[in-house]
Each structure stands twice: as C-alpha cells, then as structure tokens.
Symmetry: C2
C-alpha cells in the first residue's frame, strides 16, 4: 500500500493512538510518526517501543509538517489541543480523532479548522481498562468496529484516506451520522460502564457481620465490574460530552432494573423467569 | 486420606455436583458415587466421564445406602427431592447441599430430617454460566470460597466430615451463620447477576437508526453481561429464596446508580470523577 500521509502526529500516545501507530508503521502508510504528549515518561516508552519516531511536549513542533493530526487524548482535551496546534499546521491538514463521542467533538472542532482543512471523526470501538503507550499492541483493531462519522468538514479525499488507514488495521469500518453513533454507543458502551462502576461503588464499603461482602464474590462479580477499573478521567469526559444520549440510556436501564426489583420484591416467579430468559437470549446474540 | 462415607448420592450432577464428585473420587473420600437426576441423558454423560458409578432416575434407589446425600439441583427443588428420598435413607444419613442461599434451605430441610440425621449447609462460591455434567471439571474449587453454615441439626461429626471433603478440594472453607451468608451473597453474587441480566434485557431490543445497538458493544459489554447467560431457573429460585436480603442489596445498588444518573444529568464533573474513582479503587481490591 502506498504512503497516504507524510507525517502523522498523534496527540496522546496511549492504548488506541499507540496501537494505531504500530499498525500504520507496519503497513508503511505514513513516512513519519510524531507523538505529542503531556509527559516525557510516556513519550519515552513510545520511543523505546518504536511506536513513534519523534516525541514532543511542544504543540508547535507537533503541528509543523503534520498533514494528519490524530487526537487521542481524553475527549475534553481535544479543543484545547487543536487550538494550540492549528495555526502551525499545514493549510490543508487533515484532523481526525479516536474519541468515544462524536457529535460533541464535531461541534467543537470544526469551527477551529483552517479554511482548507478537513475533519474526519472516528471511533475505534476497542477500548480497554489499560492506559499509556505501554499498553499499545499490534492488531488491536482486527475485526473490531471502527465507526467513521462524516460531517460537514469531511472532504471526500480526506475521508477516504482516513478510512483506508483504518481498513488496513483489519477493522470493520462502518459509516454513520455522529448523533446515531452517540445514541448507539451510549447504549452499547457508556451504559455498561456506568452499570459496572455503580456496582463497584455500591459494594466498596459494604460489610456484613465483619466480612467485606465483595471479598466473597467470584467470577461473576469480577467480570461484571472489570471495566470499573477504567480511567475515571476518560469516563467523566464521555459522560459530560454525550450527556443527552446517555441520560436516555440510563433511563432505559433504570426501567429494566426496576422490573427485576419489582419481581424480586413480589416474589413473582413467572416474571423472574421471563426476565432472566430475556437476558440470556440477548447475551447469546453477542457471545 | 481415609474414606469418610460409603455412598455419596448427588442429586443433580451438574457443574458443582459433578466437579465435587471428580475431586472426591480422586481423593478416595467415598466408596461409591450415585447420581440422581431428572434426565437419563445427563446421567449418561456423567457415567461416561467417570463422574458417577451409578445413575438413577428413582429417588428410592438413590436414597438406599446413601450415608451422604448432596442436594445440587436448583434450590427450590431441594425440599421435594429430600421428601422423596428421606424415608429410604439410612437412619443416620448426613444431608448436605450446594445451594446459593442458606437460611431458606435450612428452614425448609431441617424439619424433614429423620431424628438421627444431620444437615450441613454448604455454598461453594464457584458458579459459572455453564450447566450439566459436561461442564464438570477437576479442581474447580481450588482457592475458591466454600461457605459452611452450621445450623441446629448440624451434628459436630457430620459438620467435620463435610468440611473435610471440601477442604480436600483445595477450597478456602469459612463458617458463618446462614443469615450472614445470605446477606453477603446477596451483595457479592445475586446483585451482580441482576445488574448483568438487567443490562442484557435493557439492550435486547434496542435499535438506533436501523442498527442493533448491542452489536457495536466491545469487551466491556461482553464482560458486563457474561453471567446473564446463566440458568434462568437457578436464578429465579435464588431470587425467590433470598428475597429479603436481595431486596436490600437491590436498593443499595439503585441508590448508587441514581448518584451516577444525577451526576450525568447535572453534568457534574467532580461528582463523576469521584464516583468513577471510587469504583476503580473498589475494583482494584478484588483484582
């Protein structure tokens, strides 16, 4: 495959940005990869692992010659990061991101672009409870969903080149409108995070008869709370930037949880069987 | 280790009963293992795998010569199963179980015992979303909690012999009162099940823009709903038989979920950070 961009600058060389860099390099899709970050320690890891060619804490140096800029920090840092770089970018630079919310990102970033620049919103659905360049790995995106959300400032050529990069990782690339993406992910990803975190918080201080109750949990408790270990900063940002869709998803869950609660309280055998069976059928569809 | 019982009859040769049988046989703790079940097909699997020596659908045959009876069916079948067998058991038989609730089981079973019989309630905290003799495996209980709940009819010798069996599996055996067990497990096990099943049911029919939302979930959704695939019959019984403790645990969860919901709705950055951080700290304790 031929070179698509001369310089990819990744802002935030963590699990997602770092893993993409490894795939891009393996495929020879860009000539040079620059990592821009807040801490030298993480950039040093990325340099040692061969994830980036150059690491910098300076937004001006990060912007210069970057015909592709990928925002891969926590979502709410995107606007400040782009503002610090945009006047130093090549005039026709392509800006893209890997954020877990899309409408907010489009609304915030498009007004910041220079007149010849493009924005292509992307969400690789491959998050994990791991962070930093140390967590980056090749082939992280193979067979994962990567959702591309074309918007007003997505020029067709930029859109195609960004999609070509993601298809090269082995991901399943799907286009949809930013608002549709946000409503889907509020249900399929942001809701499970809050469900898991709420369970972890509820049990944090629960003791019975001198025993810490959660200490007697088995695999079920561990699986159901696994993602509660994820970055609080990242999830705070997602909640703040996808609020309306998430409020709907939370209400949906609250309603179904209340059905279980009523069935338990009433000792309603049939309702309990039906509810657990409905859950089992759904779970089998995503097995 | 010497032989503790002449004949162990396991009622319900599934994941737990079958796995215990494999360990008991490996350690030579009983002379003969009889499997009692509802379907010949499952008993045949157990026979082929060497889990049991004899399989029967007849409670009278199952009872005869059984100085140890282990109830390992769904919990609500325990009383009917014991009633069908009790008059044919040796007069000093020991009855034990592997149910996930304990106070209800003790209340239901102790009045059924013959005057010289003992009951020893046990809960091996090692459930999985798998069922049947095919799922049984050696060493399932190694380093798992096995909670023994002595009650009025637990004669010391019976209690010690049953605990000896469980310690021989490599489990961590802990004694506690039935009600304490039930309150702890309502939080550490039954609550996570309902949290997971409610998430699965909530997303079962959720479509956005023609897409089934759950189809775009990643590892987070899969982990958080994994146990929703468990047996509806088993969980219905647990809900019906541990209702009071579970109602408390559900209210506790509802309260913490509501805190997340309020923080999301209000866009409260600090509250969200604190909540996710509390969840992360708790999750790290059970890692």
């Amino acid at each position: 495959m031929s070179v698509l961009f001369r310089q990819l600058t990744i802002c935030g060389v963590g699990l997602i940005g770092g893993s993409l860099a490894l795939d891009v390099r393996r495929r020879g899709l860009v000539e040079r990869i620059v990592g821009f970050g807040r801490t030298q320690a993480n950039l040093d890891i990325a340099l040692r692992r061969g994830i980036i060619d150059i690491g910098t804490l300076d937004p001006v140096e990060a912007a210069r010659d970057a015909d592709l800029v990928m925002l891969a920090t926590p979502v709410m840092n995107f606007p400040a990061t782009l503002k610090a770089m945009v006047t130093y970018l090549p005039p026709n630079a392509v800006v893209t991101d890997v954020g877990s919310v899309k409408a907010w990102v489009v609304d915030q970033l498009e007004p910041l672009l220079g007149p010849a620049m493009s924005f292509v919103g992307v969400h690789p659905v491959a998050g994990r409870e791991l962070a930093g360049a140390a967590a980056a790995e090749e082939r992280l995106f193979e067979n994962r969903w990567v959702i591309v959300t074309p918007s007003k400032r997505s020029e067709p050529e930029a859109l195609n080149k960004v999609e070509t990069i993601w298809r090269a990782t082995g991901a399943r690339v799907e286009r949809m409108a930013p608002a549709v993406h946000d409503a889907i992910l509020a249900r399929a990803s942001h809701l499970p995070q809050i469900v898991a975190s709420a369970l972890a918080t509820a049990l944090a201080d629960e003791s019975v008869g001198g025993y810490w109750a959660a200490g007697f949990g088995a695999g079920g408790l561990r699986d159901t709370t696994r993602i509660a270990a994820s970055s609080p900063e990242m999830w705070r940002d997602i909640c703040l930037t996808n609020r309306d869709a998430l409020v709907q998803a939370l209400a949906l869950y609250r309603d179904w949880f209340a059905r279980f609660e009523r069935a338990v309280t009433a000792g309603d055998s049939h309702a309990l069987s039906d509810l657990f069976e409905r859950g089992r059928q759904m779970r089998r569809r995503i097995a």
